[in-house]
């Protein structure tokens, strides 16, 4: 799994590439928690994710809860059909703010 981070104004955009599973989700968790401290809004691009399991979804839920505690915004965009399927299977699709494109995700504030 590769993680890259870039700025779009005051928003931090985190991009993930590869598989998020029990072995890789701790690295994603650390990156997202650290990045959330650096900006009022974090947008996570899931377009290049080939696979995500429940440990990855649990990580996203933890980051969402942390963002709410800190009065910050955490949004997702670029979900592939495979990732959407996991969101539906875990019944979390309505819990997150999910957008199709980066432009929509950035304009959600």
């Amino acid at each position: 799994m590769k993680i890259s981070i870039r700025d779009a104004g005051t928003v931090k955009i985190v991009e993930i590439e590869g598989d998020v599973d029990l072995g890789t989700s701790p690295d994603l968790r650390s990156a997202l928690f650290e990045t959330l401290l650096e900006a009022p809004k974090l947008a996570l691009n899931l377009a290049a994710i080939r696979y995500i399991d429940s440990s990855g979804i649990a990580t996203l839920l933890e980051v969402l809860q942390d963002s709410q505690r800190r009065n910050k915004e955490f949004v997702l965009f670029g979900l592939s059909p495979a990732v959407q399927q996991v969101f539906h299977l875990t019944h979390v699709v309505r819990i997150f703010q999910v957008f199709q494109t980066e432009e929509e995700a950035l304009g959600s504030a």
């Binding site: 599973d21 029990l22 399991d53 809860q65």
Partner: protein, 137 residues
């Protein structure tokens, strides 16, 4: 001759991509479509990950035996391990559609597979799951 697959692996999460790489194509060869193959792969990845986390407490030196077998009406998967037995009171204890991060994996397994059972046997903890292949005529 029916399709089957059997291997033993360490309880190391680095083997999870190997499991996924085997299960998806096997399910496809048995006749499931792409979406079902993804769901079956996810469910079995979750089952193996649960063994790593809960039976072996993230120790990488345990052993997990995985067997997939094409049955008369679909797929039967058996996982064996020698870690701590599962606490049945915690299986699917999490409410669905809530924002708590834990306990998602067992719901995925239950939703995707048609039958799921956990047994403590002399050979170790035995997880068996089946999924029927619904053929369209």
């Amino acid at each position: 001759m029916s399709l089957q697959l059997k291997f033993v692996m360490p309880s190391d999460p680095r083997y999870l991509p190997v499991v996924r790489g085997a299960i998806g194509p096997l399910a496809a060869a048995m006749g499931w479509d792409e979406s079902d193959c993804r769901a079956i792969t996810l469910a079995l990845d979750e089952a193996v990950a649960n063994i790593i986390r809960h039976a072996y407490h993230n120790r990488a030196d345990g052993l997990i035996e995985l067997e997939c077998r094409e049955s008369a009406d679909g797929l039967e998967v058996t996982l064996l391990d020698n870690g701590e037995a599962p606490d049945r009171t915690r299986v699917c204890a999490r409410a669905i559609a809530c924002d708590q991060p834990g306990g998602l994996g067992t719901h995925i397994i239950k939703d995707v597979m048609d039958t799921v059972s956990y047994q403590a046997t002399p050979a170790g903890n035995r997880f068996v799951a089946t999924k029927r292949l619904r053929k369209t005529i």
